[in-house]
């Protein structure tokens, strides 16, 4: 078993990883920038090391400073959380070269999946369905136009090295593609350091459904059910649930099997997520991308399986079996009840524009089936340097109805004063007939908030 770990992240995810580390007897070391010195995760760690000024490039993206902190504190392992350096194969290699255990998949698997074009090609060869799209980077506007003619409009334009919805754009015609291509390319260079662009057929009435996989130390790959992440603004998730109310038992079974194939194709170890787009009308799905890390929305899977995914990450990294009895292959995992996650962002609930600020009041809801993974507390300042996630309000119920009822009460009870928050958006979401009925797709937020 690992005896110590440095968590190379901040906010709610650092706090969540530290919680499991401490519960399982692993010494936890936090790292922080000057902007985060007062956050709860810094205090809750056994030890904390300042790694730099607020700018991410000089702190949470500064691999040398993080590895120095690991050496200085004598830890055995590094857990990257999500975002920042979590899917940076070079960082994973540096961690391993420093004699530390990397709590994540093999750097080669990160690299193969980090390039979305390579990942698509690999998945296609492994027998996983992919949308019509680029097999190599689209070099310029002329190539993009030719590619779109081949694939057929509408198309989605995105950065091959990208994530988090940044720079993604939909084009319905040639004029739209010209502008979407330029936007995607400037964002790709700026945010991801690579100008490579990928074009795919855009699915209009799509649900975004992903499968949680777990590659065990003995080489088996398990699928721990799916999460429906179709509630999105700016191509970024706002609310998630499991099981997905929009897929049939047969489709779920095919998706879980495909996710296991995807994991096996890269000899995946640890927690990973296979994201798919589901055409709800046709009852079909295509591979979108694979995230080679713990996902923001992993708690909903934990709530319906009773499995602590971070604990499994630690065990697998140490070469040990999981803490639960894996189901006999190919028996599907049976979820217990229904779970929702509402992402509480520091943004206004109408236009979703960022609203950082100092938190003067913070009161979390308490009750049956509730779990709050929060990065902040009263007195903290939410700064503009990082993403706007304040907390994840997670709700478990015996069934979807009960989970929704509990969520409606919890959203009203959650009190945050100071920064702007999207709590009122969540109240509207939970009141909407589409969400209540489970009958929604990725266009739901734009229907609730027409521009």
């Amino acid at each position: 078993m690992l005896d110590s770990v440095l968590v190379a992240n901040r906010g709610e995810i650092a706090r969540r990883v530290i919680r499991t580390a401490r519960r399982t007897g692993i010494r936890a070391v936090a790292v922080y920038s000057d902007a985060d010195a007062d956050l709860p995760y810094v205090r809750e760690a056994d030890q904390a090391v300042r790694i730099g000024p607020p700018q991410p490039a000089r702190s949470y993206l500064n691999a040398a400073a993080i590895i120095d902190a690991a050496r200085q504190t004598g830890v055995a392992a590094v857990h990257p959380g999500y975002g920042f350096l979590a899917e940076n194969a070079d960082f994973a290699r540096q961690v391993i070269a420093a004699g530390l255990t990397w709590v994540g998949p093999d750097p080669d698997a990160i690299e193969q999946m980090g390039d979305k074009i390579r990942a698509r090609n690999l998945m296609e060869r492994a027998g996983v369905p992919v949308a019509p799209g680029s097999r190599e980077p689209v070099a310029d506007v002329a190539a993009a136009l030719a590619e779109a003619d081949r694939i057929g409009y509408p198309v989605m334009v995105k950065a091959a090295a990208g994530g988090g919805g940044i720079g993604m754009g939909v084009a319905a015609d040639e004029a739209g593609l010209r502008s979407a291509f330029e936007t995607a390319r400037s964002r790709a260079e700026r945010f991801f350091g690579s100008p490579e662009i990928l074009i795919e057929r855009f699915v209009e009435r799509a649900r975004h459904v992903e499968v949680q996989i777990l590659g065990l130390a003995d080489g088996r790959v398990l699928a721990l059910g799916e999460r429906d992440c179709s509630v999105q603004r700016r191509h970024q998730k706002v609310a998630e649930e499991t099981p997905s109310p929009g897929i049939s038992a047969g489709l779920r079974e095919r998706m879980l099997a495909a996710a296991i194939q995807a994991g096996q194709a890269v000899a995946y170890r640890g927690a990973g997520t296979v994201e798919c787009l589901v055409d709800a009308d046709a009852g079909t799905f295509v591979f979108l991308e694979m995230n080679t890390r713990l996902q923001v929305e992993h708690p909903v899977t934990e709530l319906v399986t009773g499995i602590d995914l971070v604990e499994q990450q630690f065990l697998i990294a140490a070469g040990e079996p999981p803490s639960f009895d894996p189901p006999a292959d190919p028996a599907p995992f049976r979820p217990s009840g229904h779970a929702l996650e509402l992402r509480i962002y520091a943004e206004d609930p109408v236009r979703f524009l960022p609203g950082p600020g100092t938190i003067t009041e913070w009161a979390e809801p308490v009750g049956a089936g509730l779990r709050v993974d929060a990065g902040y507390q009263a007195g903290n300042t939410v700064t503009p340097f990082y993403d706007p996630l304040l907390a994840k309000l997670c709700i478990h119920g015996a069934d979807r109805e009960q989970a929704l009822d509990r969520a409606r009460e919890a959203v009203v009870a959650f009190r945050i004063v100071g920064p702007k928050t999207n709590l009122l958006f969540h109240a509207d979401l939970l009141a909407s007939p589409e969400f209540s009925a489970g009958d929604y797709d990725t266009s739901l937020v734009s229907k609730l908030r027409p521009a």
Partner: protein, 70 residues
């Protein structure tokens, strides 16, 4: 004369308009960045940028003056 002020705490990512430029309603003056999002700040009417108060890389507070358009 119109004063353009910041609606939120943000970093100044790009200064698009320069002092002396003629701008129209809806033209981008500067692009702010906050919480991994880019927020364009637009001119709310036609005029000349007589003063640009921010520079790229600066952190500005809610209510800070960004530019003056006359």
């Amino acid at each position: 004369m119109a004063e353009v002020r910041a609606e939120m705490v943000a970093n100044v990512w790009k200064v698009v308009a320069a002092e002396g430029d003629h701008v129209d309603d809806g033209d981008t003056l500067v692009i702010l960045e906050s919480m991994k999002m880019e927020i364009p700040v637009l001119a709310e009417g036609p005029g000349v940028v007589t003063k640009m108060h921010v520079a790229e890389g600066e952190v500005i507070q809610e209510g800070d003056l960004i530019a003056v358009i006359s």
